[in-house]
């Protein structure tokens, strides 16, 4: 592995996979495990975790959200460090979740560039890639350029700047189905921006936005695929990710 290997061997990390990734994007979870283990962490998966309650809170179901939030905190009772490949679910834990859990929960890019002090994670991904900063990573968690620094260090990767990158893709959880027309108008502009880069891959720190952008790309047979950042960072020459 090329440089940047941190001296954090045997750091025990609990994976907060999120219900969404667990059910629909297990490949992202496998990639996080592969990546963190490669960087010397010991990863565990507390099985009582389900959902952080974000969808319920943002849809107006406050009591249900509070119950789920408490349950999530109990599931991670025995964890010192919690890492998740979802900026929006981490944002939910930070802003509305159990304060003690919030303190020890990290979004993946934050964790890599913060405690692990890694930028070059030894990845190889020979593709043309553009990065969409999701609203929750950009304006919620304020991860800044951490994802870009990680991507720039990936060997073989051709990083292309996304025009109007900071504009929302129009997902917004239940917004996408409660206001499908406005959501689609926002998505159209995002897809146009992605198309303008001529990238093969659009990546982000959240599969929810990527499901939206990717769903639009597939509908249009656009020739660009949506891949979570964790999968790019987990990819190596010997064990490439799609």
């Amino acid at each position: 592995m090329s440089g940047g290997k941190p001296d954090t061997v045997e750091l025990r990390v609990s994976l907060f996979i999120t219900c969404f990734n667990d059910t629909l994007f297990p490949g992202t979870g496998r990639a996080v495990v592969k990546l963190l283990e490669r960087l010397g962490c010991e990863v565990d998966f507390p099985p009582d975790q389900t959902c952080c309650g974000q969808m319920h809170l943002n849809s107006g179901y406050r009591a249900e959200a509070a119950g789920l939030s408490e349950q999530l905190a109990r599931a991670f009772d025995g964890s010192d460090v919690v890492v998740s490949p979802s900026a929006s679910c981490v944002g939910m834990v930070r802003e509305h979740g159990d304060p003690a859990l919030a303190e020890r929960t990290w979004e993946l890019c934050e964790f890599l560039t913060g405690p692990l002090e890694a930028e070059d994670v030894g990845a190889y991904y020979p593709h043309r890639v553009t990065y969409h900063p999701t609203c929750h990573s950009l304006r919620g968690l304020r991860v800044g350029d951490a994802p870009l620094r990680l991507l720039r260090a990936v060997r073989g990767l051709d990083l292309l700047e996304l025009p109007e990158a900071e504009e929302c893709c129009g997902f917004g959880g239940t917004f996408a189905v409660k206001n499908p027309d406005v959501s689609t108008a926002m998505l159209s502009d995002k897809l146009r921006a992605v198309g303008d880069t001529r990238a093969e891959v659009v990546t982000a720190a959240d599969n929810s936005c990527l499901m939206h952008i990717g769903g639009g790309l597939r509908r249009g047979r656009a020739g660009t695929r949506a891949v979570h950042l964790a999968q790019i960072l987990a990819s190596t020459e010997d064990d490439p990710e799609p």
Partner: protein, 460 residues
């Protein structure tokens, strides 16, 4: 009766001219604002000062309003208290009648749009002439404003030329902005010189000195506040500031946030009346119209900090595509989505708190740091609490039950995988409601053969 945001927005989205006009205009103002805000080293401290002053004013509201009343009266003005729009409109109409006035000139004012003052005056036989150029355009077209600061943002030059040709008799008019402005100027100058009564809103009212302020770009507002014999100002009670020196903060925050200018061209300040100079009679109408109810709500009250700069509209991806009319309220955009449901009955605008992807761009630019997404989510909770049990509530509560227990959650995951069969997928595509709303423009993700937790269990 309103159509609701999703329906109204769908109609607006189909208007390609509107999309182009809005996209161009919001992007221009957004970039200008970013430029002039970026050059202020202590912008964050200014925002914090703005928030602190507004919070102080709201916490001391009854006391400050009585102080304002006293200082306006001491300076020779008269003060009227209006519980709602009807009382405010009646106060304005009474002054007009007292002076036998049948036409008033108006400074651009959203507060008087909120009270529907023009309609109320018309019912009393009194004409109201909008003198802000964009408000005039909207009025001549029997249209309604679609932006707080730029009411005719949905119109472009060619459309305005056609309107002026029709309504102001300006044949042979080109779409050159200078030519368009010259026609409006000629029309308005006559109105200014004839007018005996002016009506304005207020950006600020200073309790300490009794000074009322209007901030504008064109100077037409100042014509209305200085030429007529009588001036009536309708001011929302949340516009009160404790001290004269507080203006220092807001006169920096407002122009940079609204028009993207370092300083606005015209800042008018007046305290009561002065013999031989300007209007000889001044009335201040203090309007509640739901504001004290907003103040009583611990989360919602931050909405009353709003100084109507409209920076949140210009950065909002929803507003930039749907436009202001889709909000069906005089307060459009992100601030409208929280103000309209709070000032009026929530039941009448219950789709507005959901008219946002919660992207947070509005909160980042707000000069008085209103956490608009926080208030939106709070209002969504209020809507759900009041609506009773419908299909969505049943589904959401059932889903919370599934997520609430690991065993039920894992069983539900197995069922989702069963839906991977061609039969299951075919069925899903025909389902009404949320799935159809999604698949109208986006593919559904493939449900994988194995969940993450199954993989973990099998390999660890």
């Amino acid at each position: 009766m309103t159509a609701g945001f999703p329906v109204a927005a769908k109609k607006a989205l189909a208007d390609t001219q509107l999309r182009r006009n809005l996209g161009h205009a919001t992007r221009t103002i957004r970039d200008k604002r970013a430029g002039v805000v970026g050059e202020v080293a202590d912008w964050e401290q200014l925002r914090e000062a703005g928030q602190a002053i507004k919070d102080e004013a709201l916490a001391r509201l009854p006391e400050l309003l009585e102080q304002l009343e006293g200082s306006v009266q001491a300076a020779g003005g008269q003060v009227h208290w209006a519980r709602d729009g009807a009382e405010a409109n009646a106060a304005v109409a009474a002054v007009a009648k007292q002076h036998g006035v049948d036409e008033v000139v108006k400074v651009k004012s959203i507060t008087t749009d909120e009270t529907k003052l023009n309609d109320a005056l018309a019912a009393e036989g009194i004409g109201a002439v909008e003198t802000d150029l964009a408000e005039l355009i909207v009025q001549l077209d029997n249209d309604s404003p679609s932006h707080i600061l730029v009411p005719a943002i949905h119109r472009n030059r060619a459309e305005i030329r056609d309107l002026f040709r029709r309504k102001l008799g300006a044949t042979d008019l080109s779409d050159d902005p200078a030519a368009l402005t010259a026609v409006a100027r000629e029309h308005l100058r006559r109105k200014f010189l004839e007018a005996r009564m002016g009506v304005s809103g207020a950006n600020f009212g200073v309790a300490e000195t009794g000074t009322v302020s209007v901030v504008e770009s064109e100077g037409n507002g100042r014509m209305c506040t200085t030429l007529p014999e009588v001036l009536v100002t309708v001011m929302g009670i949340e516009k009160v500031l404790p001290r004269w020196r507080d203006l220092e903060v807001f006169l920096q925050l407002l122009p940079r946030s609204s028009t993207g200018e370092r300083m606005n061209p015209y800042t008018s300040l007046w305290s009561g009346v002065r013999a031989g100079d300007g209007p000889q009679e001044f009335h201040l109408v203090l309007l509640d119209n739901g504001r004290t109810d907003v103040l009583a709500d611990a989360v919602g009250r931050q909405s009353l900090r709003c100084i109507r700069c409209s920076a949140c509209l210009n950065v909002c991806p929803v507003y930039a595509r749907a436009g202001g009319h889709a909000y069906e309220s005089v307060y459009p955009g992100p601030i409208g989505a929280i103000l309209a449901p709070q000032l009026a009955r929530l039941e009448d605008s219950q789709t507005l708190p959901f008219a946002s992807s919660l992207c947070g761009a509005c909160a980042d630019v707000c000069p008085v740091k209103i956490d608009i997404p926080e208030v939106l989510v709070h209002l969504r909770g209020e809507v759900v609490d009041r609506k009773g049990t419908d299909a969505e509530a049943v589904a959401m509560r059932a889903l919370a039950g599934v997520f609430g227990d690991r065993k039920r959650y894992e069983r539900a995951q197995s069922l989702a995988r069963a839906g991977r069969s061609p039969l299951g997928r075919g069925l899903a595509k025909r389902l009404p409601g949320p799935i159809a709303a999604w698949t109208s423009s986006r593919e559904l993700p493939e449900v994988p053969e194995q969940t993450f937790r199954q993989w973990w269990k099998e390999t660890r």
